[in-house]
Symmetry: C2
Subunit: 122 residues, 2 copies
C-alpha cells in the first residue's frame, strides 16, 4: 500500500507522514508542535526534522507565538496550501485505486469494521 501511495504521489516527494502533517496543519492553523505531534501520533522530537524539511521547502511556517515565547505556531504557506490541494487529489486517486475491487457498500462495511477494532488511543 505504501508503494502504491508513493506511486500516486509521483514526483511530489511527499510520503504518508508528511501528507498527514499537512492535512492536520491545514485543519488547525496556528497549532503548536506538541499538539501536532499528538494528533499525528508522533513523538515531539520526531516532528523537528519533518517540520525542518517542510519549512525548507516553503510549505509550512513556524511563527513564534506572542503569548507564550516557548511556542511555535504552525501555518501552511500559500505554496503549502496549493501543494496540499494537489496532494489530496492524488491521495483520492490512490484510495480509489486501492479499493477498486470493492463496491461502495463493501467499502463502507470495511471502514466500519476497521473502526470497531481500533484500540482506544492511549
Amino acid at each position: 500500500m505504501f508503494d502504491d501511495f508513493a506511486d500516486a504521489m509521483g514526483e511530489l516527494e511527499i510520503g504518508p507522514g508528511l501528507f498527514g502533517t499537512l492535512v492536520i496543519i491545514e485543519a488547525n492553523p496556528g497549532l503548536k508542535q506538541t499538539e501536532l505531534a499528538h494528533a499525528a501520533r508522533l513523538d515531539r522530537s520526531s516532528l523537528v526534522p519533518a517540520l525542518d524539511k517542510l519549512e525548507a521547502r516553503g510549505l509550512v511556517a513556524r511563527r513564534a507565538s506572542a503569548e507564550d515565547r516557548r511556542v511555535n505556531g504552525l501555518w501552511l504557506t500559500p505554496d503549502g496550501a496549493a501543494l496540499l490541494k494537489k496532494l489530496k487529489q492524488r491521495v483520492m486517486r490512490h484510495e480509489q485505486h486501492l479499493a477498486s475491487n470493492l463496491s461502495a457498500d463493501e467499502r463502507e462495511t470495511l471502514i466500519a469494521l476497521l473502526q470497531r477494532i481500533l484500540p482506544e488511543r492511549r
Copy 2:
C-alpha cells in the same frame, strides 16, 4: 495495535517483525536468508542484524550449506521452537483481544475484504 502487540508479548522481547521471522523459519526449515527476506518483505541487509540478534539469543541457527558455500540455511533451535510456541499463544490472545468487538461473522467479512484490497506483490 503495535502497542497492544507489545503488551501481549510482555517480557519476551519479540516484536512483530521477529515473530514473523520465526514463523517463516519454522514453516520453511533450512530457508536461506535471501528467501526469508523476500517472504518477510524485508531487504536482505535488514535481516542481518535481526538474525544476529536471534542467533545471539540462541533461537535461530545459521548453518552453512554443503552444496553452496555462499548460503546460510536457517533453522529454529529447540529453544527457538519452544519460545515460538509460547509466542503463538500470546499472539492469538492479542488478536482475539483486538477483534473482541467483532462477531465471528464480522471477523471473516473483515478478513475477506482486506484480502481483496491487497495489491499484488511486486
